[in-house]
């Protein structure tokens, strides 16, 4: 049986409506998806949500080009085209951008696809593996992103920069999905088993994470994570 604990909070100072990450899952199908919409583009929260919702439909078998094409249609249908202000329409012409991390668990095997710096950590008796970012120093301000393309042009594009991983997990392993600020903190603190602190603070996660941000241990950003195990 798959067990899941997940949590999110917007950047400190922002409201829930300004939160631009997204997480979706279907434990029956063993599908999990997380995305981090770029704050530089408009409606990137809808783009992140469209990506994760499309992935967990489970129709794409890691074929990310097809998955993104469907997600673009979903995103476009969510845009408030009626009464759109002239400057919003101008900005939409540049499209939306988001990272993406998809995870599929089937039995004791998993597969994952990632674009950008939303990370998957596999904690096992062998230690911690991270995907696709390997080192804390790789986090920066310009992650690879999936772009909607221009919604007025509707051109089909192929996704570059996708990373794929597969492996086996046992009942004693833990999988963690996390957007960049928390993923960075996890990678900097692996020897302290930071996922344990996240689970221990399930009841007061907001205070725990806000303290990390306010003390300068973590960048002030939207935070989203999911901890998955087979127990």
């Amino acid at each position: 049986m798959i067990r899941l604990f997940h949590y999110h909070q917007p950047k400190i100072g922002n409201s829930e409506s300004e939160y631009e990450d997204a997480f979706s899952y279907d434990t029956e199908k063993g599908l999990f998806a997380m995305a981090d919409g770029s704050s530089e583009s408009v409606f990137s929260n809808e783009w992140a949500r469209s990506l994760v919702e499309t992935f967990i439909q489970g129709k794409y078998d890691m074929k990310i080009d097809d998955m993104v094409e469907t997600a673009v249609g979903l995103w476009r249908s969510k845009l408030p085209w009626d009464n759109m202000r002239w400057f919003v329409r101008n900005k939409i012409a540049r499209g939306s951008m988001s990272t993406f991390l998809g995870l599929e668990i089937a039995g004791h095997e998993f597969r994952s696809v990632a674009v950008g710096d939303t990370c998957l950590f596999i904690v096992s008796s062998d230690g911690l593996k991270s995907f696709p970012v390997k080192n804390a120093s790789e986090f920066g301000n310009t992650p690879k992103l999936i772009w909607t393309g221009n919604p007025l042009l509707r051109t089909r594009r192929s996704i570059r920069w996708a990373n794929f991983m597969e492996g086996k997990i046992s009942e004693n392993d833990i999988l963690i999905m996390a957007t960049d600020s928390l993923a960075h903190w996890i990678l900097k603190n692996t020897e302290h088993r930071p996922w344990k602190a996240l689970m221990d603070h399930a009841d007061d996660e907001r205070d725990f994470i806000s303290d990390l941000i306010n003390s300068g241990y973590m960048k002030n950003d939207d935070v989203t994570f999911a901890i998955i195990s087979l127990k």
Partner: protein, 277 residues
């Protein structure tokens, strides 16, 4: 220095000064229109770009305030061209005097670009009428910046971009420019960028580092002295296009044609834009 984060709580300020003297009616080198029209277009485009940067799903967030001061539209006078003087970008987004359909290049996703139609906002019209009271314009900018720093002591330093084709007709602008450049926020001194427009096809000179690079012309040298020494981050932006730039280069372009003016405004605004949270 020049690394304060620009946020709604700690916004940034741009002040554009635009010469409206009679000679601005003459055609701009490298362009199809008058200097007045090309300069107004460039500033209107930049205001549109600032609005674009600040546009989120829920509207336009006030990361920036903008003032545009025209000088010489009436003899001896300088005045704010945007209603309300120095105004937040959300107000500008709500109140263009009109929008025009134009084409812009956007990436096509395959490494190329395609033209798509967009709405070009217009907040003020080109004027080419009288003299060049640059000192008056700089004094208005100085007042606005004093008040700004008083209200926003930790903000990214205000950026003044002055576009002119001639010599000040109301005295030496250097002292007031100097007094603006010696003010400070906790993040540094305000920057003054001077763009001198060329009518003829004379060779442009962007970001000179020494007065000796300029012709022996009082006016060109005065504009050099009243331009800020470029902070390192701006040198880094400019070096790709201007490999000869170095420490000590000034935020000044002499004899700018259309292309140099647009590059100059782009580099002059990029530092603050890149500091948005």
């Amino acid at each position: 220095m020049y690394d304060a984060e620009i946020s709604r709580r700690n916004p940034g300020l741009f002040i554009f000064l635009i010469d409206q003297s009679r000679s601005m009616i003459r055609k701009m080198a490298g362009g199809n229109e008058s200097k007045a029209k090309e300069a107004a277009d460039a500033i209107n485009r930049q205001i549109g770009e600032l609005i674009m940067r600040c546009t989120k799903n829920d509207g336009v967030r006030d990361y920036f305030y903008v003032g545009v001061i025209g000088y010489g539209g009436e003899k001896g006078k300088a005045s704010y061209l945007l209603e309300g003087g120095v105004v937040p970008v959300s107000k500008l987004a709500d109140n263009p005097i009109r929008t025009e359909k134009r084409m812009m290049k956007v990436p096509d996703g395959s490494g190329g670009t395609v033209d798509v139609e967009y709405e070009f906002g217009v907040w003020f019209e080109p004027v080419a009428n009288s003299d060049t009271p640059m000192v008056k314009a700089l004094n208005m900018a100085k007042e606005a910046i004093e008040s700004w720093i008083n209200d926003h002591p930790s903000s990214y330093p205000p950026v003044v971009i002055n576009i002119t084709d001639g010599q000040s007709t109301d005295g030496d602008p250097y002292p007031v420019a100097q007094s603006i450049m010696s003010m400070e926020t906790e993040d540094g001194n305000p920057l003054i960028w001077n763009c001198h427009l060329s009518t003829e096809n004379s060779a442009p000179l962007s970001f000179p580092y020494s007065e000796n690079q300029l012709p022996n012309d009082m006016y060109a040298r005065s504009l050099f002295r009243m331009s800020s020494v470029l902070p390192t981050k701006y040198i880094n932006y400019a070096i790709e296009t201007f490999p000869e730039i170095k420490d000590g280069s000034r935020s000044y372009v002499f004899n700018a044609q259309l292309e140099q003016m647009i590059e100059f405004i782009d580099i002059g605004t990029r530092g603050a834009i890149s500091s948005m949270e």
